[in-house]
Amino acid sequence: MHDEANQQILLLLIILFPLGGAVVNGLLGRYMPKSLVTLVGVGSVAVSFGLAVTAFVELYGLAGPDVEHPALIYQFYEWFSIKLPRGQVVAINVRFLMDSLSGVMTLVVTGVGGLIHLYSIGYMGEDEGYPRFMSFLNLFMASMLILVLGSSLPVMFVGWEGVGLCSYLLIGFWYENRVYAAAGRKAFVVNRVGDFGVLIGMFILVGVAGSFEFTDINAAATGGQFRADFPFGILGVMPSLATVACVFLFLGCTGKSAQIPLYVWLPDAMAGPTPVSALIHAATMVTAGVYLCCRLSPLFITSDVAMAIIAVTGTTTALLAASIAVVQREMKKILAYSTVSQLGFMFAAVGVGFFAAGFFHVFTHAFFKACLFLGAGSVMHAVHAHGDADIFKLGGLKKILPITRWTFLASCLAIAGFPLTSGFFSKDEILLGAAAQIYRPDDALQHAVGWFTLIGLTLAAVMTAFYMFRLYFLTFTGDYRSADQLGDHPYDAHPHESPPSMTIPLIVLGLGALFAGFLGLPHLVPITGTHLPNWWMHWMESSVAGQPAPEEMHVVNLASGLAFGAMAVGISAAWLLYRNKSRDALAERMPKRLFQLAFDKWRVDELYGATIVNPIKQVATVAGRADMTFVDAIMTKLPSLNVREAGRIFSRLQNGVVQMYGAVMIVGVVAVLGFFWAPRSHIEATFEGKNVGLTTPPGLGYEYRWDANSDGEFETAWADAPETSFEYEKRDVRDVAVFIMNARSGVEKRIDVGKDWVRLPVEAVAPAATLRPDDVGFEVRVDGKDLVFRRPDPPTLLAGSKELRLPMGKDGRLGPARVFSRPVVEATVEVRNAFGNSRRATKEITLPFWLEDAPPHAALMSHGSEVVR
């Protein structure tokens, strides 16, 4: 598909630089001067950014109307391969792909990442773990770039889990605080739940598409391969392959991108240093889920159900997180919930089929949210707040931290969707998608989802504007409340503006927050209806599928109106309630319990604890205890105890008395004699032609007589020979046995034929291996001299005629099975031993051949009015 000459080694280098930085700083950083650590840490990312720009420029040059999917490829080596049941070997290559989607993402990651690295010099420079921090941050960059550039699911998964690891390490960066470390662990474990989904989704994809490559999977999805039903129903529903795969993949996205139900780790993740929150938990890593959805947009769009699930989940998350953010007191916590909420917006966009719009929001969000976090970090740095800062203890910082304040304001405007800022364009596009959904013809599901999404997102947008400006006003307006106040954590009374290494990133990001939106001007300007060139949509077309943008003006007007209105309402409310205020005016106006519930994040963590974590922990405790007691007792202790006790009892029998010993011997003698007292016999039959040889084991002093045809009379007199032979005739036949043989494997099975219909499971007919278990067998009935076999309706696997009439002695075919009957006779031997005791043995013999002509019906019925076995 892609020729080898087209290798672009830049892609590899983009990743290798930060990776190298991580290794150097991780192993040697402790022994290097700080400046060198900085050089390695920041320099590697800077170089990586430069390379990314170079690569992007090249990619841009490739794009043209005749290039269907412009992409740069670098195939490194084959990692490993799996083999599908069809014998097809699927190679998993370490291969990188930069197309329009991953190109933009790479720029964002390296660009924003570079700025945050720069910021970290000032923010983390004094920390004793600075080299470690730089190393982890670089490792994160490398992982994130692998995630973005990986051309197949497994390679992406490397980055996917790699960023999880870095997230774990960085959240718990200040590991001496066990709460922080626990937050890191929580993040990792919750993410693993999602990763589980990605793994399973991946397997379904490869099982159908026969490849892990995104391009192949998307091609297969476009080709409709995923529309088929999943092999078996789940709770009575028969979903399509695409639905199941997408739901599993989306589970992964909810983990990584903090959506319901797996969002709970993100707020806790704020335990990490602020640059980490900015980079990982706002700008890049958490958007990986959206990225994955966009990456596989042709697949996702195949499944309406999955899309509906995504849209509803995203909207609900946006609402829920926003409602929590509205009442929080701490800067980073508010920003964290805001991130969750914004991610919900992105997924809502994905869910309504506006993948590019969702991704556009990823793009703009990276700027303003990173800027907000860094701004918060700047504030915290200024007031010497550790961990997080309570906004009710701040205030009036606009004079003291002017740069921080202006950039923060710009970002607040952007996230609130103030016209012409970046957030305005991207959010507008999302609402447009939701609105378009409502007007899509005749699909009840899509209609419902559209309405829900539109209303939900509008509400969330109102809240967004509100809580962001609540944050802004409380932090930057009014008076500085920690100047004289002695609280639990009195902040520095004399804060100061941050150093340039921190303010420069703020400024760059703030500018981005204001102007990045112009890359994605609306296709249609509301009210005027002017067509504008939308560079973003155009650029993304080649790699992202999606619903077309609506052309109707009323849709556009509706969406824009709602967006603008939400922004206006939110900001005004915040202005009224919080400008220059120091008290939580909203809390005072809300019902106390509702406020408390929202403040406690709707107690979701507690809910999970009670319903999932604790039960599992209890099961685990039981398992752990039971293993060494119960299981071990059954498997080891009990048997060994029994054996030992038996040994003790046995050895007690040896009581030392000679007479007792002698008595035991006599018992032994009697037992042995008793063994010979009664004769034993059983019959074995051998077949030679039509002659049936009958033998019984010989014994010392035994005599035998035979009744071969079971007429109750012995044909032979008492004799010494333990064998006889007999030639059966049809009158000797006592019964007829019916056999079914799997025609393919040759496995035979005798079946019991009753008077009534007999239903035969397939396992009885054939080795189940060759048949599916849900294919029920067939029915057998006695009809005069014939046996009738009938397949049930609807016919499943057993091909051929529906009913088979089988006269005695003939054989027939039914599907993959051969059916035949055989005569059954009975033979009896009586054995007499020297002591005059005798015993009889009777054996039913199924003759392997059919006698001359079919036995009369009477014979079949000889045991009564029905055929009995």
């Binding site: 007690r652 009581n655 030392g656 008395v657 000679v658 007479q659 006599i666």
Partner: protein, 100 residues
């Protein structure tokens, strides 16, 4: 008289010997019981030699049995003496040092 009568006699003798061996505690009497059992064998051997009169194997066998019985008694009595020296009794019930 047929062989059966002799056999019955031998069986009775053997049974008495065995019963004596099992029920008596006096080691001397147990020894004698065993001698009785050996002698019952002699009766059987001699009786059967009448049936299989072609050779004299049965009778020869009987002589050997008598001789061996004597040797056995000698060893047995020696052990008995040693036992008596230690235990001051010839009651086999007291031989219960070794058990379990």
């Amino acid at each position: 008289m047929g062989v059966g009568t002799y056999l019955a006699l031998a069986a009775v003798l053997f049974g008495i010997g065995a019963a004596g061996f099992l029920t008596r505690r006096n080691m001397l009497i147990q020894l004698m019981s065993i001698e009785l059992m050996l002698n019952s064998v002699n009766v059987v051997l001699l009786a059967f030699n009448r049936v299989h009169s072609a050779n004299h194997e049965g009778q020869v066998f009987a002589f050997f049995v008598i001789a061996v019985a004597a040797a056995e008694a000698a060893v047995g009595l020696a052990i008995l003496v040693a036992y008596y020296r230690i235990k001051k009794t010839i009651d086999t019930d007291d031989a219960r040092l070794l058990k379990y």
